[in-house]
């Protein structure tokens, strides 16, 4: 029984990382209609920036996290300004090629900058445990879950109550109407990219103690994609729930299924859900007016 709960918690922790990557991914997709295939790599850059600030420049942990996230914000806005905005009005195919190209570029850049090795990242939670009754949990896993809950709550409040948050949702819903009421649509798009990249950066730094910082950690993006689809592409709560489900299913597969299944479990689950409920868990079948 203990084994089950420990696996549940570690699965949820990894799922939280998937959820955050999927969240940024969905935010960007909803607002700008860009499917950012490089979002996993954006996360990887965030992890490397965290490594640079904390390990190389010896910033205190939390200050390093803040510095890295601040850099990610600027990075996200620049990506939109110089890579995606010039593509406005181009077909979906050009956008796909550009974001796929970006993912390759970022991986190459990281291996030139930081090298192809695997780097550990010390955190204040490393090698510490939380004991609840006779349950022994890694503090890192618990910290990830707590941080994710706080972050999601903050995002919820931001989108629900702040003017900029409401404007971002409005822009996602109807770009033309956003122009009509005087929302600077291009700037809002850049801010959404900044937000998406910042969240991915946090996810990357949180993932670092679990999977180490390395050039290929962006493949987590490959898990965030089914997470987003599972939740119903375009649904923010769906992305979060989808991410956590995939994390939990993966870790349960380690426990109960033959070896190797943990890598495909996410996709099997996705296939089953899509057969039963093609719009995803939280998706609505949208009717587009012509």
């Amino acid at each position: 029984m203990n084994e089950f709960f420990q696996q549940l918690i570690s699965g949820t922790a990894v799922g939280c990382v998937y959820a955050l990557v999927a969240l940024g991914f969905v935010l960007i997709y909803k607002a700008t209609d860009v499917v950012n295939f490089a979002h996993g790599e954006v996360m990887m850059i965030g992890a490397f920036l965290g490594l640079t600030f904390i390990d190389t420049l010896h910033f205190p942990y939390w200050l390093g996290v803040i510095a890295a996230v601040a850099c990610m914000t600027v990075f996200g806005a620049l990506l939109n300004r110089f890579l995606l905005r010039p593509l406005a009005g181009q077909g979906i195919l050009s956008v796909i090629v550009v974001t796929l190209g970006l993912s390759i570029l970022l991986r190459a850049f990281a291996s030139v900058m930081w090298g192809p090795e695997t780097f550990p990242l010390e955190t204040p939670f490393s090698r510490k445990v939380v004991r609840i009754a006779d349950l022994v949990l890694s503090q890192e896993h618990v910290a990830i879950i707590v941080l994710t809950v706080l972050l999601v709550a903050a995002l919820y409040a931001f989108f629900r109550y702040s003017r900029l948050g409401i404007a971002m949702q409005a822009t996602s819903e109807n770009q033309l109407a956003a122009y009509y009421v005087g929302i600077p649509v291009n700037r809002v798009h850049s801010m959404i990219w900044a937000l998406g990249a910042a969240i991915a950066g946090i996810a990357g730094i949180m993932l670092a103690p679990i999977s180490f910082v390395q050039v290929n950690m962006g493949y987590v993006g490959l898990k965030a994609f089914p997470a987003a689809v599972l939740g119903g592409f375009g649904s923010i709560p769906g992305a979060i729930v989808g991410g956590i489900i995939i994390g939990v299913v993966e870790s349960m597969a380690v426990l109960y299924l033959p070896e190797g299944f943990n890598n495909v479990a996410a996709y099997l689950l996705l296939l089953i859900v899509l057969m039963v409920r093609p719009q995803g868990l939280f998706g609505v079948q949208t009717k587009r007016r012509v």
Partner: protein, 256 residues
């Protein structure tokens, strides 16, 4: 000097030329009607003014400033609001949020709150439904919301695109009543309409468009009495009887 002046504006969508040299003026404090049949280019004129479409040639001046090709969000800041065709409200946001978004360029939250109250007094039904998603409103209520949302920016000039489209006659009257009231409060209005009767009733001045050109302009009074306008736009023939649709081709419009 006129509040809005556009001169020799040409615009096209791809290879299709929608505007073939439009010149018009809107004096401050006036209601100006832009009339014409479907596809004459009325909506394109409004979109060119509010920066949604960039003109290929010509100039647009607002309050003495050259605003040709300026981004739409900056024009809202300068005091121009556009109530577009099809309303374009935020259907998934609440009525209240739509109004707040209308005031996006403003920072005076106290005045914004009192303006929202003012909109609710113009259109009490919006107050009743303020917590509902705007997409659940009826067509007429959505039109009220679209107008209110535009007013939330405290514009000096409002561009109104087909405010009567798809509304019941009683609602049309109500909307035009509000248009009059706005003019009395000092807001300048450029209204595009197919309902020429209603539009010329409230307007001070009118322009008539055909296939991308302005073919006639005059005071609303004179347009109402112009025999050609009476026949082709108001549906009243010289003798005062309704024109028969089948006979329309026989008579030539005099400005051709």
């Amino acid at each position: 000097m006129a509040l809005l002046e556009i001169a020799n504006v040409e615009a096209s969508y791809g290879a299709v030329q929608a505007l073939r040299g439009i010149t018009l003026k809107v004096e401050a404090g006036a209601i100006v009607a832009l009339l014409g049949a479907n596809g004459a280019g009325k909506t394109s004129v409004l979109k060119t003014i509010s920066g949604i479409v960039d003109p290929r040639r010509g100039s647009v001046r607002f309050d003495g400033k050259d605003i040709t090709g300026m981004e739409p969000d900056r024009l809202v800041g300068l005091g121009m609001s556009h109530v577009p065709e099809g309303r374009e409200i935020f259907r998934l946001r609440t009525v209240h949020e739509n109004l707040i978004l209308g005031a996006y360029r403003r920072n005076d939250s106290a005045a914004i709150a009192s303006d929202i109250e003012r909109m609710y007094s113009y259109f009490p039904i919006l107050r009743e439904r303020q917590r509902q998603r705007a997409g659940l409103l009826s067509g007429g209520q959505q039109q009220m919301l679209a107008i209110s949302r535009a007013l939330m920016a405290r514009p000096r000039l409002i561009l109104l695109d087909e405010p009567s489209l798809g509304l019941a006659p009683l609602l049309v009257k109500e909307i035009f009543g509000i248009i009059r009231r706005l003019r009395d409060e000092g807001i300048t209005i450029l209204v595009v309409e197919q309902n020429a009767n209603m539009a010329l009733d409230v307007a001070d001045y009118g322009y008539i468009m055909e296939v991308g050109r302005i073919v006639l302009e005059d005071s609303a009074e004179a347009l109402r009495n112009n025999p050609t306008v009476r026949e082709f736009y108001l549906g009243i023939s010289q003798e005062g009887t309704e024109t028969q649709a089948g006979q329309r081709w026989k008579r030539k419009k005099q400005w051709r």
